[in-house]
């Protein structure tokens, strides 16, 4: 994992000092509300329903155990003893005091963490694949590239006051786990026919009010040019994006208005001036950053005997077998596994973790996974390098700590934004809906029988819960001051991302579990063999679901 140089550390410390000064001026009445607003947002600080909310950056989802212990300390001393993992691999504290935020940032800077550009109309935290570096289908490890982009985007002087927020995701593998089709810029690492490395560049994807799938504007960009090309894209957007209406200000609206072809021409024209300039990446810089992402000290393990031992443990213990099946994935190094810690036990808001749990996870990471942890956009955590021989022991400890719910990728592993309980943008609550669904579908055998299925809940159009790309999506809407929920079917976030279709008129909160039940019944009645929900949906379409859900009783 990347370790700060003295320069990196100094930049972050100077940011803390800068924000401390800005906060003091605001509290002294020297800085107007509207002037402080973008400054605090660019440090992740929102003023929410009940208290400020502070969003901490987790660059491309990577964390270490020392950072977890610091987060536990912050949760305990500055918050109500917990934090929340978001759908963009970041962390939110829901109860900090405004006056104490500079102190929190100073604490975080000690472990190379910050809240830089986690909100506001600027380039946000770069997101990536939670299985980077360990996935079997990887073309190139995206993490060094994400770090290079993190440095490029951090305090970029030209792009701090864009028309709207700007999100970049990078994928380095064949199957896209970073949802690059629904980002302002999606970057796919690829190799050309000469086996040279480069990027396929997509622009104009996004969720929110107007969900759009991104368009490819360049099939192959040699890696040396990535920073200049990004400068060109963001400059075109900064100059020509809509600034009159915030709902039409995202780059996707500009790309659609101009057409992707015209947008690409403008970018190429701008890039022609920048190309081969000073921001052209050097092999030396790429090598420097890559040194931080070398393989951990894997041992050569006897795969055959560990596999046999693991099979025996699984045969003896059905619960362990289920956890193995759902919550672990094959690792590309023999004798190791990738482990998902579920943050979705029933009764806990999806993504919430307490201070003591943070410390437990830090201990587990130190003991079983080289001290590193990854946050996923599904709001779970990953220990990426666990010896298979230690899986049983890890499972027992994770179970005690509450992270072993064997539901990864199933109906109850739902994605859910904080919603109306916390967020001042929300039209409706989302956490109680998530809990009601988890309680209704508590029969794990039924849930396993349904197989891989994504259910995403957003409390408003801003779509933090990514409802458009859930197989089942639930969107909170406001109807004359009352909270209602619209249901969508058929979205996917993975390779070939697709947006869901609205089922029909919305429902009251208490109806939702029954509605989901009816939808699942239609699937079960219609599926062929092992067909997944999404495949059945694609085969039979929306109508059978609609008919069942809206049928008059008797």
């Amino acid at each position: 994992m990347y370790r700060y140089t003295e320069n990196d550390q100094k930049i972050i410390e100077e940011r803390v000092a800068q924000f401390r000064g800005q906060t003091e001026r605001y509290l002294a009445g020297e800085l107007a509300n509207e002037e402080f607003l973008p400054l605090r947002l660019q440090n992740g600080l929102y003023i929410q329903r009940l208290a400020p909310m502070l969003r901490i950056a987790v660059p491309y989802g990577l964390l270490n155990s020392a950072q977890f212990r610091k987060l536990a300390h912050v949760a305990r001393h500055f918050d109500k003893g917990y934090c929340h993992f978001t759908t963009r691999q970041n962390i939110q504290f829901n109860w900090p005091q405004l006056e104490e935020v500079p102190d929190i940032l100073a604490e975080l800077a000690q472990v190379q963490m910050h809240a830089v550009q986690t909100s506001g109309n600027c380039i946000r935290n770069i997101t990536s694949d939670q299985y980077a570096g360990v996935a079997g289908d990887e073309i190139e490890d995206p993490r060094p590239w994400c770090e290079i982009l993190r440095q490029w985007s951090t305090f970029h002087p030209e792009f701090a006051y864009l028309p709207r927020k700007f999100k970049i995701a990078v994928s380095g593998s064949e199957s896209d786990r970073a949802a690059i089709l629904v980002h302002d810029i999606g970057l796919q690492l690829v190799r050309n026919e000469a086996d040279e490395l480069g990027f396929k560049v997509l622009v104009g994807g996004g969720l929110g009010r107007t969900p759009v799938i991104g368009s490819v504007i360049r099939e192959f960009l040699p890696w040396q040019h990535i920073l200049g090309y990004l400068d060109a894209i963001v400059r075109v957007y900064n100059r020509y994006g809509n600034r009159d209406n915030k709902y039409k200000a995202r780059i996707k609206i500009l790309v659609r208005a101009w057409t992707p072809e015209v947008f690409a021409e403008k970018v190429e024209k701008e890039w022609a001036h920048i190309m081969d300039g000073p921001c052209t990446l050097t092999q030396g810089e790429v090598d420097r950053v890559k040194q931080h992402f070398t393989l951990p000290a894997y041992e050569t393990l006897d795969a055959a005997s560990t596999d046999a031992a693991l099979a025996a443990q699984a045969a003896d213990n059905k619960a362990f077998a289920k956890w193995l099946e759902r919550n672990t994935l094959p690792h590309r190094v023999s004798g190791y596994s990738i482990v998902n810690l579920s943050l979705k036990p029933t009764g806990v808001a999806p993504g919430d973790v307490t201070d003591t749990q943070l410390e437990t996870i830090a201990d587990l990471a130190d003991r079983y996974s080289f001290g590193e942890i990854r946050a996923t956009h599904n709001q779970n955590l990953v220990l990426a390098d666990v010896r298979k021989s230690e899986l049983f022991e890890l499972w027992q400890q994770a179970k005690v700590a509450g992270f072993a719910t064997p539901n990864i990728g199933t109906l109850t592993d739902l994605i859910c934004c904080p919603g109306g309980d916390f967020c001042s943008l929300a039209n409706a609550k989302s956490i109680p809906v998530a809990e009601a669904i988890q309680r209704r579908f508590d029969d794990m055998d039924y849930v396993y029988d349904l197989g891989d299925l994504t259910l995403n809940i957003s409390g408003c159009m801003n779509a933090c819960g990514h409802h458009h790309v859930g197989n089942i999506g639930i969107l909170g809407v406001d109807k004359k001051g009352a909270e209602f929920y619209q249901v969508q079917l058929g979205g996917t976030a993975d390779n070939g991302a697709a947006l869901g279709n609205v089922l029909g008129p919305s429902f009251g909160q208490e109806e939702i579990p029954d509605i989901i039940g009816k939808i699942l019944d239609v699937y079960v009645a219609n599926r062929q063999g092992d067909e997944l929900f999404i495949d059945t949906y694609r085969r039979i379409g929306l109508n059978p679901f609609k008919e069942s859900v809206y049928a008059k009783d008797h």
Binding site: I11, P38, W152, F155, P157, E158, N238, R243, P278, E285
Partner: protein, 163 residues
Amino acid sequence: MPKIINKGQIVEDKWTILPKNFSGEPPAGTLLILPMKFWLEHKDDIRLPVIGVWIDSDEEVEAIGEDANLFPLIAVNFPSFTDGRGFSIGRLLRERYEFTGQLRAIGNPNRDQLFYLKRCGFDAFDLKEGANLEAALASLNDFSITYQNAADQSDPLFRRKEE
């Protein structure tokens, strides 16, 4: 006389800005900053010896382009401090058109933008009325290290020699 920040100093400002919709004969005997549109329409018959121009955030800096160095001063308007187009205009003037005169941010830039403005090539700042200029000077140096190349720094951090 109103005060501005120029090259890190607080100085009295001798220039007068004409409004965007200005028409007629520019007044003589004073240093004028003309709206870009006016200059474009009248550039062949303007007889003033020394003039500056100002560009609004929705205007194309390319219209001045290679003519930039005809002017001792170019101002860029920030109609609202959240309108970030001027940052790109500044960089284009300095880095693409190699403008060497005074590059001034006008309109509503605020203290907390000075560091970024400086990086984008601005060396003069007309902050909103009543701003504490003495205190604002400190914000020109909020950071001592930067990652990117920009108008103030020809190389990104990764190309710079260890200092």
